[in-house]
């Protein structure tokens, strides 16, 4: 009798363990009631809309874009389910109205702890293929999307818990099925969630309708004279009208105005390269001469993303231009262009003149022409109903 009872008990334990075990598996039969095979899996290939004059958008082969993937990612992006106390979503620090920043000097996580860095605009993030974050510590959007959830100064949750919540959620299992063809809710993984988030982030592309875009697409009246002066200085094209080089385009280059390269742009006056409060790229690479270098962010929608720099130290674009006009701090790993801002006539560096108040204002006025309200108001990227 005793023997039979313990046998039955052992069997029961075994059954429970097997079930639990199976539930961890990415596919196969698992957990009664969470079969999803009745829901059709017909993902629709998705071409990211982009302005014709923008470069092609890199999409990794292992995460092809689908409408269903983008929709799932969008929902996850705006869903506080990703944070430990369900108060914070990605969008808490990346708001559409701030061009996907939070307009704070540094971001604050769910526990009220301030991080050390400023939230970054996600506009045109699909083009960022030279590392992510201010210091380049993440290689891809898929990899990056895993990090905020478990970051103690951000969402401070754990992925196993998030995945459990997603599995038992009334809607998510179906959305994961439609996006990734999982057979049952136990197929939901953090990797799939990250892939969906990355797909949504890749559609955050400029509308191409800013006044600057109108100008480069051939409307000479899209910029007024002062804005045009600013544009000429920004792109070092001012010689014809005797304007100095502001050198900005060397780092914030070309169409997306995202350099993606890492520079010391002359923010800090330090006694030695070891003395930066935030070592930036050097904190990741361990290379001393990378200390104080940060990834160049996009200047599109820059008028919407104050305050500025990795630590939000400058409240206004006026302060930013004031900084650049100081021609760096002479720290040994500063980029040469930082020390050439406001030089007359391109490379013919004979005498530093600096940018006059009018010239600084003109550059700022030009930066305002990069504002793309069509993008921030695009219904496809807002919080879903």
């Amino acid at each position: 009798m005793l023997y039979r009872k313990s046998f039955l008990f052992a069997l029961l334990v075994l059954a429970v363990i097997t079930l639990a075990q199976r539930c961890k598996e990415p596919s196969g039969t698992c957990g009664m009631g969470c079969d999803l095979t009745d829901i059709p899996y017909n993902p629709t290939a998705y071409t990211i809309p982009k302005p014709a004059h923008f470069p092609q958008i890199p999409v990794p082969a292992n995460n092809p874009m689908t409408l269903e993937g983008v929709q799932l990612g969008r929902r996850l992006f705006y869903d506080p389910i990703l944070s430990a106390d369900s108060t914070m979503s990605c969008s808490s620090c990346h708001l559409p109205q701030g061009s996907f920043t939070d307009n704070k000097a540094v971001s604050t996580g769910i526990d009220g702890i301030q991080g050390r860095r400023s939230s970054m605009s996600l506009l045109n993030i699909a083009y960022a293929t030279n590392g992510l974050f201010w210091d380049g510590r993440s290689a891809s959007l898929e990899e990056q999307a895993l990090l905020p959830v478990e970051d103690p100064v951000e969402m401070h949750h754990t992925w196993p818990n998030v995945v459990e919540q997603l599995k038992s959620h009334p809607v998510y299992p179906e959305l994961f099925r439609k996006a990734f063809g999982i057979d049952n809710c136990c197929g939901i993984t953090k990797e799939l969630a990250a892939r969906a988030l990355a797909q949504f982030e890749r559609i955050l592309i400029s509308s191409g309708t800013s006044r600057y875009d109108q100008y480069i697409l051939g409307d000479p009246d899209a910029l007024d004279d002062k804005e045009l002066d600013g544009k000429l200085m920004f792109f070092d094209e001012g010689q014809v009208v005797n304007l100095p080089d502001a050198q900005c385009f060397h780092c914030h280059g070309s169409i997306t105005l995202t350099g993606n390269n890492y520079f010391n742009n002359g923010l800090d006056s330090v006694a030695s390269l070891d003395d930066f409060t935030d070592k930036g790229r050097g904190g990741i690479s361990g290379n001393r001469t990378d200390n104080g270098k940060f990834r160049t962010p996009t200047l599109r929608n820059i008028a919407l993303t104050a305050p500025y720099m990795h630590d939000g130290r400058f409240p206004t674009l006026e302060a930013v231009l004031e900084h650049y006009n100081g021609n760096g701090k002479g720290v040994s790993n500063e980029d040469p262009f930082v020390q050439q801002i406001g030089f007359p006539l391109g490379g013919n560096v004979l005498q530093y003149s600096g940018l006059t108040a009018y010239q600084r204002q003109a550059v700022i006025k030009f930066l305002h022409t990069l504002t793309d309200t069509t993008f921030i108001n695009n219904p496809d990227i807002q919080k879903p109903d």
């Binding site: 470069p55 092609q56 070309s254 997306t256 690479s285 040994s332 040469p336 020390q339 490379g347």
Partner: protein
Amino acid sequence: MKFLPTILFALLFVFISSCDKDEPQTEKNFTLTFKSTYGGLALEKYKNYPYDDRDIQVNKFNTFLSDLILVRQDGSEQRLSDIEWVDFTPDLAPDNKAVDVKFQYTVPAGNYTALKIGYGVRPDLNAKKPADFAPEHPLYRENEYWSGWQSYIFTKVQGLYDLDGAGDPESTLTYHCGSDAVYRTSTMNATIPVTDKSGALTVEFDVKKLFYYNGGLLDLDDPLNRNTSHNASNIDLGIKVMDNFANATTVK
């Protein structure tokens, strides 16, 4: 048991198709390696090198190369590539040592006697812009394009020069050279045996030799020789640098 043959067949299929995928890679039998030096020494960012009686640093060095072509004894040509971008000092490198940049090509076996190189972006390609290319293409790079002058930046050399003579380089050097007017070509003779399995050539650029002019080093005390960063500014300096590229090249 009935399924066993099917499973075995399926496994075999998987095996074969995975072999297929590897094939094109192992087929590539020719490796072209680019190295950079300064005065014969391995190049390293933020390191002081002698320049006449002063010191110099080279902290960035990259270049486009067009029409890489192997030449046979009889003068016939084997094209390796229309265009490549060679970045010796990538941002994400683990340390300051300039990296060696390797490309692999599939080439018929034979004895080749020369390598042709175009320094910069050849004119028909330079007429295009980054948005014309797929993300994998060397010319997709927006940071290497001058929208203001509709040209790729053929080569970038940046560094510091000890202008004040105090011992540490402090004065900026920026050589961003581009435009059809500065595109240059050369033919480098070498003995280049290539078999079905392997063949290799190393091309070395000595940055110091980019600064030679009229039998001596460019006078960096002259501000006109220190900076050119767009093709409308100091094109003479851009021409000098691009003229020197062939002399700065050795093949092994």
